[in-house]
Structure formats: C-alpha cells, structure tokens
Symmetry: C2
Subunit: 520 residues, 2 copies
C-alpha cells in the first residue's frame, strides 16, 4: 500500500530506555514514551523487527515480542505485508460517560449479544485505559461465556459470606489470604484437580498473572535469570515473568506437550532452572503432556533443584474423558500451580490462587507484602469464593459450563467441517478453543492462489485475521503465540468460549468469507 | 532479665542478602531466611541495631526500620530493656479450621466484641500468613470501627451492580479501572475532598499501599532514588516505597505539619524530588499542613520538577470544622493523591484509588500492567463501589461514622482527663486517634520513679505498651513511627476507631493500670 511509505520507518528513532530491567521492557517503555510524548504520532511506521534488532544490538525475538505485546494492547497496529504502526488515537471521556450510563441502567435486557461500542478517542498514552473491543463474532481464545456468568449464585454467596463474617474478618488479613478461603480452595483443588499438600500451600491471588508476577519476583530474588517457556504459548504470563526480570527461553512443543529433550538442552545452554508449562492442555496447540514427559520434567526439576510452574488455565473443561490431573499432585515439592476464576467464572471476579511448594512459600509471601500489606484479592471476595465453593455452587457452575461448551464444540466442529472442508482442526479434547489449519482446505469453487515446489500455497492466517476484522469477526493467528513468528502460518486459534450459540453458524460463515477474501 | 542472655546476640550471624534491592529489604530477607531455615530459632536475640549497623557497614536507621517492620509483622518481638528476639512459633492448621468454622456460621450474634482467638502454632517462615491479633481493648491506630461496617448497604450496591452489569463489563477491563467506577470516585472526591482534574486521572487500586507501590515503581523507573517522608510517619507506605527502590529520607514535622525548610535542605542534600505527605491530618501527630507550608511545598515541587504524594488517609473524619481540602486540588499537575476505603469502610473491601497527574499517568499504568493485565481491584468490586457512591450510601456512611467517632472522641477525652490527669492529649481535631503524652502526668497517690537534673522521670511509653499487652490492651509507642526512634518516649498513639463504646471506660482504666504498672 502506498500509505505504508507516508512515514518512513527508517526515520523513527527508538532508543532503549536506560537503566536495569529486561530488554523487552526497556524497549516497550521506549516505544510507550515515544507514543505518549507525541514523538511517535498515530500512523507512524516502526522499523522492521530485524532492522531494529540490528540497530539496538538485541535479539529479534525481543523486538517481535515487544511489538506483539503492544499490538495486543492496542497501542500498535500490525497488518501483514505492511509495517507495524502506532495505532490511531482514542479518548476516554466519552467512554467514561458511556460506562456510567451502562452501570446505572438495570435493564436486564442489556445482557444481550450486542457488541459494545468500539473505543472512542482518548489522548496518547492512555491506550492502557481502553476497554477491550469485543467483536460481534468473538472467535478469539481466552474468554469464557460472559452470557452465562453465575451472577445470582455469586450474589447469594456474597450475601451469606457477609452475614457470616465476624467483625475481625473485616479487619486486616494475612498476605496469603483468609484461612477459610485457602482451605476451601485447597479442598476444591484436591477434589477437582488431584492436587496434594496442606491448605497452607494455597495463596490467594488476583489471578494467574498476579501469581506469576509473584513467583517470578521470588525466582529473580533467588538468583534465577531465565524461565523456560513453551513455544507457542500465552504471552501475558511470559510478559509478567519478563517484567520481573526473567528472560523467557522458548522450548518447542509437539503432540505430547513440551519437548523434554529440548527442555534439557535449553536449560543446559542458559542455566535456566524453572519452566512454565500448561500440562493439562497445552496453550494453544491443545496437547496433554504425556505421562513419560511428565516424569521427565519432574526428574529434570529434581536434578537441577528447579521449579515447574503449572498454568492450570482451563483444565476443568475436558470433554472426552476425566480431567487430566494436575502435575502438582505428582510432586508438590517441585510444582507450583497457578489457577484463576477468569476462565471458569469471568475476568470481573478478579480472584485466583497458587499452590506453592513449602520451600518457596516464605519467598513468595515476602515478595507479596512488598507491594503492600494486602497484595491479594479483597477479603470479602475471598470469603465469597469460599462460600461459593463450599456450597457446591462452583461445582454446579463448572458442570453446566462443561456441558454447554461440549455442545458448542460439537456444533463448531460440524460447522467447520461444512464451511471449511479439508481444514485440519486440532486440540479439541479440552478447553474453549481449537486450532484450525487451513492447509488442506478444499473449498468448492475456490481456486488456490498458486503453487510452488512444495505444493499449493494455502491462505495465510494473518490475511484471514485481517479480513475477519473487516467483518467484525475476532480471530487470532497462531503466530501471535510463537516466540519467533514464522514467515507464514496457515493456523488460526479459534476460541468458542464467548461465542453466542445462536450465532455460531453465522460466525463460521463469516470466518469462511474471511478465508475466501484472504485467498482472493 | 536473666533470660536475655540465653542466646547471645553476638553469636547471631546476619549477612545481607546478595543482589540488588534496597538495603532494608536485603536485610529483612536475610532475617526472614534465617527464621525460615531454623537458623534463627524462636527466642534468638538479634544484635543491637547499632552493633549490626556497624558490622554490616549500613545506617542504623536501616536496621531499626527492618527490626520494626518485622516486629509489626509478628516475626520479631521487641521489649524495652531487652534484645529484639525472634518471636515464638505459631501454626496455621488450627487457624484454618477455626477460620472455616467462622465462615460457615451465619449467626449474627458472632458479631460481638469478643477478641479473636490468638494465633496458634505454625511453621517458621509462615508468620506472614498470620491474622493480626485484635486485643480486647483495641487502642492501636489505623483500624476503623469494624462493628459498624455498612454490610447491608454494600450488599445492596453489589446486587444492583451485578444486575446492571453488561456481559462485556464482566470481561477484561482496562488496567486503570472500569470507566464508571473511575467517574464515580472522581465525582465523590471533587465533592468531598475538593480535588480537581478529569475523571481519567483516577486509577482504581487495591488500596493506598498498592497505589504507593505503583507510583514508587514509576518514580524509580524515571530515575528517582529517594523519597522524602514525614518523621514520624506511618511505616507501611515507606516500606512499600523502599521495596520499589526509593530510599526514604526523614523530614521532621511540627504543629504546622512538615518543616518545609528541612524539606528543602534534605531535598538538596539527597537530590530527592518526591515527598510523601499527610497534609490533612499528619500521621501520627495530627497537625494540618498550614496554608503557607502548603504553598511552600508546591513551590518546591514546581522548582525541582518534583512530585508530592498526598496520603489522604482519614481526612473524611474532621470534627471541629469542615474537612481540610486535599492539597491535590491546589495543583493537580504536581500532587498525586492516594485514597482507600480501608479506614472509611474496612480493610476487607480491598479497594482504593489514586488521582494521578497527567504527566505520570502513562508511567503509572505501564508499571501497573507489568504485574498482569488486571492489577487493580476486581471489576465487580469497582462496579459495586460506583453504585455505593452514586446512590449516596457512601456519603451516608461517612456522616454516620463521623458522628459516631465524634461522640467517642468526646468520651475518650473525658475518660483520659479523669484517669490520666496531667497527660497532654494532642491531634484531636480529626481522624480516629490522638496522641497522649505522659509527661506532666499527675496521678493521685502515684510517686514518680525519680528525678534527674531536668526534672521528673515520666513513664516510658514502651513500658506502658508492654504492660498494656499483658492486660490485652493494644497500645502503640510513638517511637514505632519515628525514623530514628528516640531513646525514651513518653508519647502513646491511641486509636479509638475500633474501640467498643460500651467498653471505652474500661479500656481507659486498663490503660491507667498499664501506666501505673510501668511506673511501679
């Protein structure tokens, strides 16, 4: 596009922010400061990642990770075949008014599937204050069904918890959380996830990222410098670890989960003694870590006196057999489990937990209280969760949600088979998303754009994402989760957690239209 | 006492933890590790602060601050005339059970004044998990009236907020907070505290410490190394700033608030360009910052391109005239206001705010999201607060609480006058605590222990605190808040926020008994 040359990428000066901290964050800060100061106005093209990496003398991954993170926050825009650019400005004055009007209306009819109004203009530097835009057809992974949040059951639990709380319960509470809430969560996890260890191993958090932030800071304080991560993987937890000073080291995954051979070699190369895993359901590819690899990971952790961080993000939703037990249950001394309610209830509940090995407990709590005497969720919310779990409301909600997602998954697979014949759908055994590989696609009447030596050229996932956005369909390219994004990808990560059942067929037809447009 | 020599302080080896970080925290970590590992078993006497400071080549203030902080957490025990020691062990197994039983009982009769069972044994290193012990007579400052938490009104607001929330409200929200909650808090603060600036200046936090932690990290990232603080002052906010890498620099206060002459000279000496103040009601001495000094602080901040952090902790409770307006309203570009509900509602609500100057907004939000995508309070709690404020429930609660505290204050002053005649009571115009200076005390029939050249020797506050503890009366010595605690102090800081009205007279009689025992 001609407009790509409006701002020459070569003219954009980006210097690393001075001082300590991970390279990723120094670079991010430099870009944010440029945007906030107006030095990098909206539409400015940033240098290609390779060029910037060369200029700054840093790894290209640092640059692509930083760009990707800022794209995910809406500060930068990325389009395939075009430069990464500073995103258009939006302002939150109108947004605040709109939000207030929303909060003041009690009309239950507002709980509809209508998309939220898109962002409105706010000053530069304010992009972190923007509410995420939810597309009409939300096929992005990571969001549960916001139409079926158990509002009434939660409110009942809140009422009972408030009635039962002693006066002292309402005063200061320990940094690890209220004992009743820790016990309730520990009981739930032992039953639902086969964890082991005492109630006191549970520390209440604001969510999985909060837990990751604390253990990462504790690891860094203990001298750790690297964190092995799955490649591909969910970026926010990596980002939080990087912000705490741990350099992420990507390790490839396959159909049995993370490659334990590569884990060992990367650990040996970098000195890393901690790894972040999604053993029950690899994000985003969907594999369960095989039993031999589970054993191999734990053997490695014991050998190097290391730590395995288990991101147990959606293990409650498994459709074809019983949930895969938490790795933590196999070695509570070596595995720290991170859990949250953001994917089982909703992000708005703001409560999660970690199950911390005894040897890390003091360090995690010490890091926690450095952020203030009450680093965790509000005590009232902890007591509400305790009640919600103890009364069986959580288990009932999980069962209902599992049934709902299972039915939706079946409908999605049928629709994909019908609308995108030949595409390979993976990772279907659990969770709230699948992968859709467009290689092999056989759309009747659709000519593929070309052939090279290796065969047909399939639609590029980034082009499909772009065409989807034009149709208000939120889609994600697998490359968003890769450490070093591949030049081409034909794989989409398709979430169905927050997809309206009544509009599922329409959503998949829109996806097909986006694929067709990307090919044409 | 003979037992003071059981463990010789000279034998205790404490080395600074290696690595970066504030000295205070490296020392704290070293002690915590010693306790957690069992190397410093319960009862171990730590070296005198001066000796340890010499050994480690660090300032004595660092040592006394560290000891004081660990005493406040219950990890160390301090007794006047005896060494600082590792506190006895307690375990949380029983505590968890007790907590669960509490949470499962709905008996409203449990909301009594009965003290919570004291801590039970838990393993070393677990002291951070302990619930604070509330004495029968709670005369410690900083806790509001837990008997009059507006439970029903809050639950109504929660119900209305849940009913009105859109599905998208329950999804991810901006790091700064939900726009409706930010607007509601901004409106409240403009009315109640005379703040100025746009709604977007408000950032929702978990509380004042959370806000302090974020602005301190932003200051440190921008190159700040020191933070001027009032002396005496509330330790937790200083601690959080120190953990973020800002060295606290004490500046004396007098009856007009912080000394602005000394502020200028300490700023010049250290290069500090940020100051933490309690302008409406100096903690703990009670002065309001005078108008000339308000102007002088702001002039200084503008001259050095600095920042004033206003800890607006209990300004809602002012008895003899209208509330002192927030300093923030005089210069929203130079003053960042920290507020919370922990002293107006209760700590269990876990929600606060900061009003951030435009120039610091991007930096504060950037620091925030490094801890995860949702650094603030749960969205549901934000929406509940918005409703609670917008419906007038917050204003009604504040009025009722102010009337209640005003009556209690009058009763307390009368009781002190009767039981401790001659003691000077200060800081009575606002808040939930007063200072009681035992110098001048004229107890009928009580012989003072002695005289020296300068006159009579008055009871030492630390001895009174110790004798109070033996009678289950929680008292605080002014020295807890001093940067370099004086050798002797006759001043107690007496809170009445969480003092039961029906037992006020009994509490003051117990205080008198503690004073008499300290003298005798």
């Amino acid at each position: 596009m001609a407009t790509d040359r409006t701002n020459s990428a070569d003219e954009v000066l980006i210097a690393l922010a001075p001082g300590p901290g991970a390279l990723r964050h120094r670079l991010e800060q430099a870009i944010l400061e440029g945007v906030a100061s107006g030095r990098l106005p909206p539409g400015t093209a940033l240098p290609p990642s390779r060029a910037l990496a060369d200029t700054l003398g840093i790894s290209r991954w640092v640059v692509t990770e930083t760009y990707g993170h800022l794209v995910s926050k809406g500060i930068l825009d990325a389009r395939t075949g075009s430069a990464t650019r500073v995103a258009p400005l939006v302002a939150d004055g109108g947004g605040a008014d709109a939000g207030t009007r929303r909060a003041r209306r009690t009309d239950a009819a507002r709980r509809t599937d209508a998309a939220r109004p898109s962002e409105v203009a706010q000053p530069a530097g304010g992009a972190l204050e923007r509410a995420p835009h939810r597309a009409t057809h939300d096929l992005a992974p990571g969001v549960p069904d916001l139409r079926h949040v158990p509002r009434e059951a939660w409110l009942r639990a809140a009422r009972d918890a408030l009635a039962a709380a002693t006066n002292d319960d309402l005063g200061g509470q320990p940094a690890a959380g209220h004992p009743a809430a820790r016990e309730a969560v520990a009981t739930h996890l032992r039953r639902a996830r086969m964890t082991s260890g005492p109630d006191r191993a549970v520390v209440l958090t604001r969510g999985a990222s909060d837990g990751m932030s604390r253990i990462a800071a504790a690891l860094a304080a203990a001298g750790h410098t690297h964190l092995l991560v799955e490649d591909p993987s969910w970026a926010p937890l990596r980002d939080v670890a990087a912000a705490a000073g741990l350099l992420p080291v990507p390790v490839p995954v396959d159909d049995d989960g993370i490659s334990t051979d590569r884990l060992r070699s990367e650990a040996a190369r970098t000195g890393a003694r901690a790894v972040l895993l999604t053993p029950a359901h690899q994000f985003p590819l969907g594999a369960a870590l095989s039993d031999p690899r589970r054993a191999a990971v734990l053997d490695w952790a014991r050998e190097v006196d290391g730590l395995v961080i288990e991101d147990d993000y959606d293990a409650e939703f498994r459709y074809d057999r019983r949930p895969v037990p938490a790795l933590q249950g196999l070695d509570p001394d070596r595995v720290l489990l991170l859990g949250a309610t953001s994917k089982t209830l909703a992000p708005a509940f703001g409560i999660g937990w970690m199950v911390v090995p005894e040897r890390w407990r003091a360090a995690v709590l010490e890091v926690s209280v450095r952020r203030g005497p009450t680093p965790g969720p509000a005590t009232l919310d902890q007591l509400t969760l305790a009640r919600f779990v103890a009364d069986g409301a959580f288990a009932r909600h999980l069962r209902a949600a599992r049934d709902r997602y299972a039915r939706r998954r079946a409908a999605l697979l049928a629709a994909l088979d019908s609308e995108l014949p030949g595409a390979r759908v993976g990772g279907i055994a659990a969770g709230m998303h699948v992968t859709v590989d467009l290689a092999g696609l056989a759309l009747p009447g659709l000519a593929l754009p070309g052939l090279d030596q290796s065969g047909p050229i399939w639609p590029d996932a980034a082009a499909v994402v772009r065409e989807g956005a034009a149709r208000d369909v939120a889609l994600v390219d697998l490359r968003r989760y890769q450490a070093a994004p591949s030049a081409r990808s034909t794989v989409l990560v398709v979430g169905y957690g927050n997809l309206a059942d009544a509009r599922l067929a329409e959503a998949v037809r829109s996806l097909r239209a986006a694929v067709e447009a990307a090919v044409g």
